[in-house]
């Protein structure tokens, strides 16, 4: 049986990688780069603000201690254990830990789930590149309302229009005849509007008409020849009043000649910010190419070099922006809108929320996502270590580097700036709208209103790009290593295969973004799947491999002795925490998503396509595992 050239241990028919980390600092920065992502700057402040402010930090730190740090140590140790036997991805590592033919197929999830996350994560990452460019060119600075910024973002991601049709409510206006009112779900703003209506007159004639107008850069331009019949007159949208934040409403004054109950109105809106997704696709291709180049360069010359450049830049940009935000003067019109009250929004404790179980789960979920645990990426990075290398101190340092970026920097930028510019009530609404709403709608508006905002905007999206790319290359690398080490492909062939897979799959997500395919894949792969995989890996490492073996494995070459009380925590508490997350996510969202209860009929084909893609991807990688292990059996290796 073949032996590992450095450790002398049997390599199970795999090819041990000759890749290694060039420096300990590089390793920690790469691991921290994997952990630090968009969520540190966007998701954390939203969750903290919504979860009881300072009181949120109590369950947050408890979850860090009971869930995040134990899993970090487990994954570092598990990865190095696999690497010792020539396995740099989870199918081989699981097969080593559990001598059961089924184990390697469970390990498929440790290769596939991170790869599936990259499928959509690369696209979101490319938005940061685009918005950085738009900040420099002043394109986003010209936009003045959140509604318009939303329309801008919708247009960028390919949403070209909206349609609403309905039966108007008829209101009696004293002394002025009836008024028909129909709600239009979209907030008024930039775009081309067409309003079609039909009605019957008292002498039973059918009448039809259309009015069109364009709202562009703050000016409303009525189309030159709208066929508005004499019986109707628009009250709303009135000229000059269309740029409001409130949802659009159309009011039409009718003459007595019209039979109000026969009136039907349809509204169509077309985006004028972007003509299709060509620009978004172009930025995606650029982002994708950078990712693949880093992966092609390998561990030391690609991933580690990227981390050594990107992470210091990220720190620098974040500190500069945090200082700028903290030194902004209070809002002149509302002095209570200031950055200190913004900080209070995150830190003022609401202890009543501590009794709410959902806050504890939200905090655990935030720790789970922010540390990028349970993806298989940490194990792959750690698999390039030897028994002389520490994993306990490195793992803990990585976790706290991530916490520094999240708690100190992430909590100091977006929410305080939002309170300063939009006030407390709107900031609540922005935070409830989610991380993207904060990052891609509120923040560009803020930077558009401060001196040298183009520079701070470019830095903000630049740091998000650095946070994103250090995570996406980490998530794609387990699949490359799987093809290299288990199937004995060359690095070039493995990179090309993964590149082709990602390109095809990401293109599908981009083209069907409006149908919700990104959210579908994110739930199954990036949320539910990860927690399930995390539970499986803990059970395999702590229960099947055994707690004593696992504990010993963690302390090989260790610079830090883990306190003994962490052992029962890892064996019992951490898996229970994960099981609770799985149960809650499954109950709250999983059943509805699984049964497609809230899916609009027009989105059904794309979402079924996404599910077919998920199942097909699993079958593809399961087949590759089967081929790899069949070969090993033929060659006399241990499967």
């Amino acid at each position: 049986m073949a032996e590992h050239p450095e450790t002398g241990t049997p390599v199970d028919g795999a090819i041990p990688s000759n890749e290694k980390w060039g420096s300990r600092v590089g390793l920690i920065l790469a691991m921290a780069g994997n952990a630090v992502g968009l969520g540190n700057f966007l998701r954390f402040p939203c969750k903290a603000a919504a979860g009881g402010g300072g009181a949120f930090m109590i369950p947050y730190f408890v979850a860090l201690l009971l869930l995040g740090i134990p899993i970090m140590w487990i994954e570092w140790a598990m990865g190095r254990c696999g690497g010792r036997h020539g396995h740099h991805s989870m199918p081989g590592t699981f097969a080593r830990l559990w001598r059961n033919p089924f184990a390697k197929y469970l390990g498929v999830f440790g290769v596939l789930l991170p790869l599936l996350i990259v499928v959509y994560y690369n696209y979101i990452e490319s938005w940061t590149l685009a918005y950085s460019y738009y900040s420099v060119t002043g394109r986003t600075a010209a936009i003045e309302t959140r509604a318009e910024m939303t329309a801008f973002h919708n247009g960028y991601t390919g949403k070209r229009g909206e349609s609403h049709a309905g039966v108007p409510a008829i209101l009696a206006e004293p002394g002025a005849g009836p008024v028909a009112r129909v709600g239009f779900g979209k907030t008024w703003g930039e775009g081309i509007y067409e309003i079609d209506f039909s009605y019957r007159t008292l002498d039973d004639k059918e009448m039809k008409g259309r009015s069109a107008f364009v709202v562009s850069r703050g000016k409303e331009l009525r189309a030159p020849a709208p066929a508005v019949p004499p019986e109707v007159r628009y009250l709303e949208p009135a000229p000059g009043e269309v740029r409001r934040e409130a949802p659009g409403t159309i009011e039409i004054a009718l003459t007595p000649y019209v039979r109000p109950e026969t009136l039907r109105v349809a509204v169509r809106w077309a985006n004028t910010h972007h003509d299709g997704i060509a620009v978004a696709y172009g930025f995606f291709l650029l982002c994708f190419a950078i990712n693949m180049y880093v992966i092609y360069r390998g561990v030391e010359s690609g991933i580690e070099l990227l981390a050594k450049i990107a992470m210091p830049m990220l720190f620098l940009f974040a500190v500069v922006i945090a200082v700028r935000v903290m030194t902004l003067p209070a809002n002149a019109a509302n002095p209570a809108w200031n950055v200190w009250n913004g900080l209070g929004f995150i830190w003022n404790p609401d202890f009543t929320k501590l009794a709410d179980a959902s806050i504890w789960l939200a905090a655990a979920g935030q720790i789970f996502f922010t540390l990028s645990i349970c993806t298989g990426a940490i194990q792959t990075y750690a698999s390039f270590l030897t028994d002389r290398d520490d994993v306990t101190l490195n793992g803990l340092t990585t976790a706290f580097t991530n916490e520094f970026v999240e708690v100190i920097l992430g909590g100091t930028i977006a929410i305080p700036a939002a309170v300063l510019f939009f006030g407390m009530l709107d900031t609540v609404e922005i935070a409830r709208g989610g991380a993207f709403n904060l990052g891609f709608n509120a923040m560009p508006l803020i930077f558009g209103h401060i001196p040298a905002g183009w520079l701070f905007g470019a830095m903000w999206f630049g740091l998000l790009f650095f946070a994103g790319i250090t995570s996406s290359v980490a998530l794609a690398y387990p699949a490359v290593c799987f093809l290299k080490n288990e199937l004995k492909w060359s690095h070039k062939a493995a990179t090309a295969f993964i590149g082709a897979y990602l390109f095809a799959a990401s293109s599908f997500v981009i083209l069907t973004f409006e149908n919700g395919t990104l959210d579908e894949i994110d739930f199954w792969a990036g949320t539910f799947g990860l927690a399930l995989f995390g539970l499986v890996e803990i059970v395999l490492f702590l229960w099947v491999f055994g707690p004593e073996n696992a504990w010993r494995e963690m302390h090989i070459g260790a610079n830090l002795r883990i306190p003994r009380f962490f052992k029962p925590i890892m064996v019992y508490v951490t898996p229970l925490f994960l099981a609770a997350l799985i149960a809650v996510w499954g109950y709250q969202d999983g059943i509805d998503i699984l049964l497609m209860r809230k899916v609009a009929p027009e989105n059904m084909p794309a979402l079924l396509g996404a599910r077919g893609f998920l199942v097909g991807s699993f079958l593809l990688f399961a087949l590759l595992v089967r081929i790899a292990w069949s070969r090993k059996e033929k060659e006399g290796g241990r499967a």
Binding site: R24, L343, G344, W347, L393, T397, F404
Partner: protein, 40 residues
């Protein structure tokens, strides 16, 4: 920002900054930084 808010901010920042600094110091001291890795 209330007094309680400042207290929570102060405790959290102290824990996170303090731990990160101490851990980095230990890491660099025990692993020789860039010189002898990974044999340290």
């Amino acid at each position: 920002m209330t007094t309680a808010g400042w207290i929570f901010l102060g405790i959290s920042w102290t824990v996170v900054i303090g731990m990160t600094a101490i851990l980095f110091k230990w890491t660099l001291e025990s692993g020789d930084g860039d010189k002898n890795f990974p044999t340290a």
